[in-house]
Amino acid sequence: MTTSTAKVPAKSAYLAGVRDGLPFVIMLIPFATLFGVVATDAGLTLAQAMGFSVLVIAGASQFAALQMMVENAALPFVMLAALAVNLRMAMYSASLVPYLGAAPLWQRALVSYLNFDQTYITSVTRYEARPEMSVADRVAYFLGVATPITPLWVIMTLVGILAGAAIPDAWALDFIMPIMFLAMVAPMIKSVAHVAAAAASIIVALAFISLPSGTGLLMAAAAAMVTGAVVEIWTEGWRK
């Protein structure tokens, strides 16, 4: 991150986004491939598995939906579980408003379609670090981050479908997603408040694990956000 996007055209912001999105390619390859493998294994056709990756593009909820379908849960519960996992994206959507709220509607719609964990976290980190970015640059940067990620997500789903059961269990693909998310969170821990929020999230999520899929996570997220904000206010008070 040596170049500044402050006074350069949107094209540079887009390219900076592409560069910052590239590392995620390494993580998404196993994750998307795994979805293809698991979906085929569960009995979805090629078109159905691809439909998931193109229309939903939300890994965790795709897996959640699949899990509920394999368990033959009632249709409303399949929907509820998968959408509950995605509710965090409403929070992502809200936190982008101060940065992208002034962009044209079609751009906001496009950003919304592409708003998932990796694009959101990468972009917000950049926006926070560079408050001088213009709205056009911010949109360009966001689309840049999504550029290497999104097509690969779809392509690797297809590879997973075709590779099917050829991938041995010994590869432990199941644990790539947890590693991916942990690696994303670790560099974001910047203060005592962040540690407190993460701890609250873990404790509440583990405590309410028996609740229907996604419900415990929502409670954990709410508790963690409040914990983080309260601890942040406390620690600000100490410094005065």
């Binding site: 439909g51 998931f52 033959n72 709220g101 590693i179 969170v185 999230s201």
Partner: protein, 111 residues
Amino acid sequence: MNFSTAEIWFIIAALGAGTFLIRFSFLGLIGDRPMPPIVLRLLRFTPVAVLPGMVAPLVVWPAATGGQPDLVRLLAAGATLAIGFWTRSALWGIGGGVATLYAGLAATAWL
């Protein structure tokens, strides 16, 4: 699974539409209006609030071991967090975590 083709396509389409609406909710409908400071403060913690809770059960009770806690996966998770924290880099965290996971699995198979 017992779902008909039509039901499966309904799930895919409805999930796609529902997920888009969730993502579009604030950014599309609320737009440029200023948000109260307390809301902004809460929202800053969103990723740190959501991701640890999502991962914790997968780390403590991995599905691959039938929900039994697994030393190798716990070590890999710890290595990912520690390396990601000290290097401030997601990529190094992933590299360290995956290396620990495979080294641990290889050691387990060999012992």
